[in-house]
């Protein structure tokens, strides 16, 4: 009798231990899952601060990804509100100010080359953009890209070949504050070997600062604003210069990004818009513009996973 009681007691104990273990495990499935997936809350890169590689006037910190080619067509039409505007020219649509056609190609995810040509000054440009810092969830609060480029004007009267050259260098610093709001600031230096416009007293080289922001309204539509200010002794209000300012809406349709905008600046190239913007909103010198971009992906086809 004693023995059998002991036997039952021992068995009950074992069962108890086992049941307890199972209980522990039952509640521990969650904690096990948590501990297993703990490291995927790791330092995540913040992506897509902007939808496109450029906004209205300014480039963004976004790059064309490796083996991708972006084809761009950018237009600026004529004045909407001056005597050249109005219904006669259908609010400037008949009077095209500037057209830019260009390509951007990503050699790596962080390095891209841009080539393009503008109507104003018939300027042909080559630019490089290098993403050096990425914004991360528990890393850098900002993304930084460096951009450098040159522009050449092959036509027109210039004293020497080197006078045909302009250069631009800038640092683009952006932050995606929330999934819908991103902001960027750019210190810029522009060097025109022959001052633009070529007026006595104008400088060849000058600093500027630009700022731009994006507000995502829907998953596929954002509002953007873009502003530039040259710090120049000559390019100021007294000499008839204006700060370029643009407002726009950006539509993304998967592979295409379409931007519709209004700016006072006629020049699409930043070298042109920073060096020589004399159009004023107050005088009705603002215009419609648009950017169409189409992305082509030339990534080699990856081998399908054999395990499937």
């Amino acid at each position: 009798m004693k023995k059998s009681i002991l036997f039952i007691a021992l068995l009950a104990l074992c069962a108890g231990v086992r049941a307890q273990q199972n209980d522990n495990k039952k509640s521990s499935t969650d904690s096990l899952m948590n501990s297993l997936s703990a490291d995927d809350s790791k330092n995540e890169k913040v992506t897509a601060a902007f939808k496109a590689t450029r906004l209205i006037l300014s480039p963004t910190t976004e790059n064309v990804k490796k083996n991708n080619l972006n084809f761009l067509v950018i237009h600026r039409f004529g004045d909407i509100g001056t005597s050249n505007g109005g219904f006669k020219t259908f609010f400037g649509l008949d009077a095209i100010n500037d057209v830019y056609i260009g390509f951007e190609y990503g050699f790596t995810d962080n390095f891209q080359v841009m080539v393009g040509r503008s109507t104003i000054g018939q300027i042909g440009e080559t630019q490089f953009k290098w993403a050096i810092v990425h914004q991360a969830s528990s890393g850098s609060p900002v993304a930084i890209s460096l951009l450098g480029g040159e522009g050449i004007r092959p036509y027109g009267n210039f004293a020497s070949f080197s006078d045909r050259m302009s250069y631009i260098g800038e640092a683009i610093i952006s932050r995606k504050f929330s999934p819908s709001f991103s902001l960027e600031v750019m210190p810029i230096y522009v060097q025109d070997n022959q001052p633009m416009p070529n007026i006595a007293g104008n400088e060849q080289g000058f600093f500027s600062v630009a700022g731009a922001a994006r507000l995502k309204v829907t998953k596929h539509m954002s509002l953007i604003v873009d502003y530039e200010h040259p710090f120049s002794n000559f390019r100021n209000g007294t000499n008839g210069f204006e700060d370029p300012l643009g407002f726009g809406a950006e539509f993304e349709t998967g592979g295409h990004v379409f931007t519709l905008n209004i700016t006072n600046a006629a020049g699409i190239s930043q070298i042109n818009s920073l060096s020589n913007t004399e159009q004023s909103y107050g005088r009705g010198q603002f215009r419609l513009g648009f950017t169409i971009s189409r992305m082509f992906d030339f990534s080699p086809k990856k081998n399908k996973d054999k395990n499937w």
Binding site: K3, L6, F7, L10, L11, L13, C14, A15, V17, R18, Q21, N22, K25, K26, S28, T29, D30, L32, M33, L36, S37, D40, E44, T47, A48, K65, K66, N68, D109, P179, K219, H220, T253, G254, G255, H256, M295, D297, S299, K301, K302, K304, D305, N307, W308
Partner: protein, 183 residues
């Protein structure tokens, strides 16, 4: 003598309990959408899973950002526009396997698992068929099932260039290791 056999029995049940939990840290996930313009496919091998053989509990979780596409644009759109992975970083499954296959014997066991499948922050109660394989004492599971985008409030706008199928095929495969409970 009797005490000894009881002790052995107790020990046996004790150690057996320790081998009931299996984990996997590199579960493979494949999603595939067949559409007229192009087939879209993404892979991840960062899924995690816990299987408690004693209770039949099965849990899966995969970080959405770990799914990689062939085209960079697709990956960005997937994260930004469809899955909103900054708001809903994971897809998870928590359920119970109905059957209790004998995991000590090698073999392939068809199983049915019922539970909550959460994608894009929306939970759906699902019953999914799969397979448990035991090969040389190594436990693995695989399953293939369809997920309707609409079931998880994933909107596909009409204007989108890449056509995307309304149902996405998901394939999961995980090889488990026993959780070391010897302490």
């Amino acid at each position: 003598m009797k005490y000894l056999s009881v002790l052995i029995l107790a020990l046996l049940s004790f150690t057996r309990a320790g081998q009931d939990v299996y984990t996997c840290k590199n579960a493979k996930i494949n999603i595939y959408s067949s559409a007229p313009i192009e087939d879209i496919e993404a892979n991840s091998s960062e899924g995690v899973s816990v299987y408690n053989a004693a209770t039949g509990e099965l849990a899966f979780s995969v970080p959405i950002r770990s799914l990689h596409f062939q085209k960079a644009m697709m990956e960005e759109h997937f994260n930004e526009n469809y899955m909103e992975s900054d708001k809903f970083p994971k897809a998870t499954f928590k359920g119970k396997i109905q059957e209790h296959p004998d995991l000590t014997k090698d073999g392939t066991y068809p199983v049915t698992v019922t539970g909550d499948f959460q994608v894009h922050g929306v939970s759906q109660s699902r019953t999914i068929k799969g397979e448990i394989k035991v090969n040389g004492g190594v436990l693995s599971m695989s399953s293939e099932f369809m997920v309707k985008c609409a079931d998880h409030h994933i909107e596909i706008p009409k204007i989108v260039f890449h056509n995307i199928a309304e149902s996405i095929r998901v394939r999961v495969s995980a090889t488990y290791g026993a959780l070391n409970s010897s302490k």
